[in-house]
């Protein structure tokens, strides 16, 4: 399988709003060039963008690791940052810890994580308070 897999790594800096969104744009470009089903491209685009923005808004720094094979698109997002104290709460739609500054920019509706989950076929999240958050999602290529 590994010969049929391609990966790409993106580094993301917290609070860098100027470059925020570039990684998800690149990810989208890769998937399109590979001829991935447009619906899968869009789900990945939405999930990766939400994940990237969460990272930019809350973390100090982090990485997004994309892996694509003919069956699945996998995205692993790891960051160094404050972490999430109560994951169950953070997963609730409408729950947000966004600052007024983030809300100014149109974020903070409390839809980020639920939206990532909704667009994924497999969703795993773990976090250590004060250390960081790790998110792993998989989207299957529907035939």
């Amino acid at each position: 399988m590994s010969t049929e897999e391609i990966e790409a790594m993106f580094s993301i800096t917290g609070r860098d709003y100027t470059n925020a969104g570039r990684a998800s744009t690149s990810i989208k470009g890769i998937l399109k060039r590979l001829g991935i089903n447009p619906a899968v491209v869009r789900r990945t685009a939405i999930a990766s963008y939400e994940a990237e923005m969460n990272l930019v808004m809350y973390a100090v720094r982090g990485t997004m690791h994309l892996r694509v094979n003919p069956a699945t698109v996998t995205l692993e997002v790891e960051d160094e940052g404050p972490g999430i104290k109560d994951i169950a709460l953070a997963m609730q739609e409408g729950y947000s810890t966004a600052t007024p500054e983030m809300r100014e920019m149109g974020f903070g509706a409390g839809m980020g994580l639920p939206n990532i989950k909704r667009n994924s076929d497999q969703f795993e999240i773990s976090s250590a308070a004060g250390r960081g958050t790790r998110l792993s999602i998989r989207i299957n290529q529907a035939s």
């Binding site: 010969t3 897999e5 744009t25 399109k32 060039r33 685009a45 939405i46 094979n69 149109g106």
Partner: protein, 418 residues
């Protein structure tokens, strides 16, 4: 895979000096320079935006619009001017004068677009207010934007406004009116758009969402301008008869923000210039901008007055259009109830949903595409990544892809040759 696209540009190689301006500006990286001559290598990518026409100083890129001589097959030729036409003249030259001048130039009649613009504005308002799908809706009146979405954002075709453009509605109305007046069958009546850009030609040859366009031909404003100016001078001042003529709200369609004026401002906005449109569509695709209901997109800066087949500078043209607008009846030229009734009967809707036409991937087989992408990335890591263009591709990445796809060779790169 998608059928052959129609295009509205031709490259005249004998005039090309190989300067690469067109290759660098092409927003979809469709142009390559081979043996010192530019050409569109990737026809599927070309979205007929006309950016190459704007930058070419050698007259290499020829828009494939119609000439007056091509229109002899029609017994009755009805001109349908883009509102951008009026903005080419001083604001004192009213549409009525230009109508009379067009008749001097070989047209049998003129259909004003304002009525259709106002009707389409109302139809759009109704559609947007009743729409329950993914937001935002994206305007579909600029053929370049439609093609850009079909090619680069295939998943967004479902968010394109499925309402016919004013030029299509006008053409349909003009044909029905002239057929009733003259007794001629509609195929002998030519509905001819006076166009500010070549992209409209594409939507005439192949109208997305329709079996065929109601328009029959398009003549470039820039081709017509000289004869028309002379005719305007001959016609001079005519009696002011604005009946059935253009309105302020109709003429507003020529420049930015003309359409969604009547939609709730906090939920709509206008974006113009291809690079800006691309950025916005990127955001829409990522699920941003969901709080907006409608986005008006123009490929040209300042809207249709910025088309590459106009004569006047787009900013001056816009100023002129604003002045002209003050002299015209406010509009709308149609009553809302009748538009709503026609809307309910489906008169403004496209016949079928827009279809995506995604670019051909590196390979139709995903496993092979993955292999080719790895190969591309390996080559790319040996390239200087300064996008010098000497190889004839717009970027090192495009060059690496060309090599992997067998369309270019390593030795085309000056750096690999060293």
């Amino acid at each position: 895979m998608a059928a052959q696209y129609h295009h509205s540009l031709r490259f005249e190689a004998s005039r090309c000096n190989g300067c690469m301006s067109c290759m660098r500006i092409c927003p979809t990286a469709a142009v390559r320079v081979r043996k010192g001559k530019a050409a569109i290598k990737l026809m599927d990518c070309c979205i007929d935006c006309g950016e190459c026409i704007k930058v070419c100083t050698q007259g290499v890129i020829i828009p494939l619009t119609d000439q007056m001589a091509d229109l002899s097959q029609y017994q009755c030729r009805v001109a349908i001017p883009s509102p951008a036409l009026y903005a080419q003249f001083e604001p004192e030259v009213l549409p009525g004068v230009i109508f009379a001048a067009l008749k001097e130039c070989g047209f049998d009649d003129v259909e004003c677009l304002s009525r259709a613009c106002d009707a389409v504005t109302t139809a759009t308002e109704i559609y947007v207010s009743e729409y329950r799908g993914q937001s935002p809706l994206i305007s579909s009146f600029c053929p370049t934007v439609v093609r850009l979405v079909q090619v680069e954002y295939p998943e967004l075709v479902n968010q394109m406004l499925p309402i016919l453009s004013p030029r299509e509605i006008s053409a349909r109305d003009a044909k029905a009116r002239k057929s009733a007046e003259t007794g001629l069958p509609t195929d002998l009546i030519g509905a001819i758009y006076l166009t500010p850009c070549p992209a409209k030609m594409v939507s005439i040859l192949e109208h997305p969402g329709m079996e065929r366009s109601y328009l029959d031909a398009a003549v470039a404003i820039s081709d017509l301008f000289q004869t028309l100016t002379a005719a305007v001078a001959r016609v001079g001042e005519i009696e002011e008869n604005m009946d059935g003529c253009e309105t302020a709200s109709g003429v507003s369609w020529a420049f930015l923000g003309g359409l969604p004026r009547s939609l709730p401002a906090e939920h709509t906005f206008t974006v113009a210039g291809l690079q800006n449109v691309i950025r916005i569509l990127d955001d829409v695709e990522k699920g941003r901008l969901r709080n907006y209901s409608f986005i008006e997109c123009h490929a040209c800066p300042e809207g249709c007055v910025g088309g590459c087949l106009t004569v006047e500078n787009p900013y001056v043209a816009r100023a002129k259009a604003i002045k002209l607008r003050q002299q015209l009846p406010a509009g709308p030229a149609v009553d809302r109830e009748s538009v709503e009734r026609r809307y309910r009967q489906g008169e403004f809707l496209m016949d079928e949903p827009l279809t995506p036409r995604p670019l051909r991937p590196l390979d139709d087989d995903i496993s092979k595409a993955i292999g080719k992408m790895k190969e591309r990335d390996r080559l790319l890591s040996r390239l200087p990544r300064i996008d010098c263009g000497a190889c004839g591709a717009p970027s090192c990445r495009a060059f690496a892809e060309d090599v992997v796809l067998g369309e270019a060779a390593d030795e085309n790169c000056l750096f690999l040759r060293r």
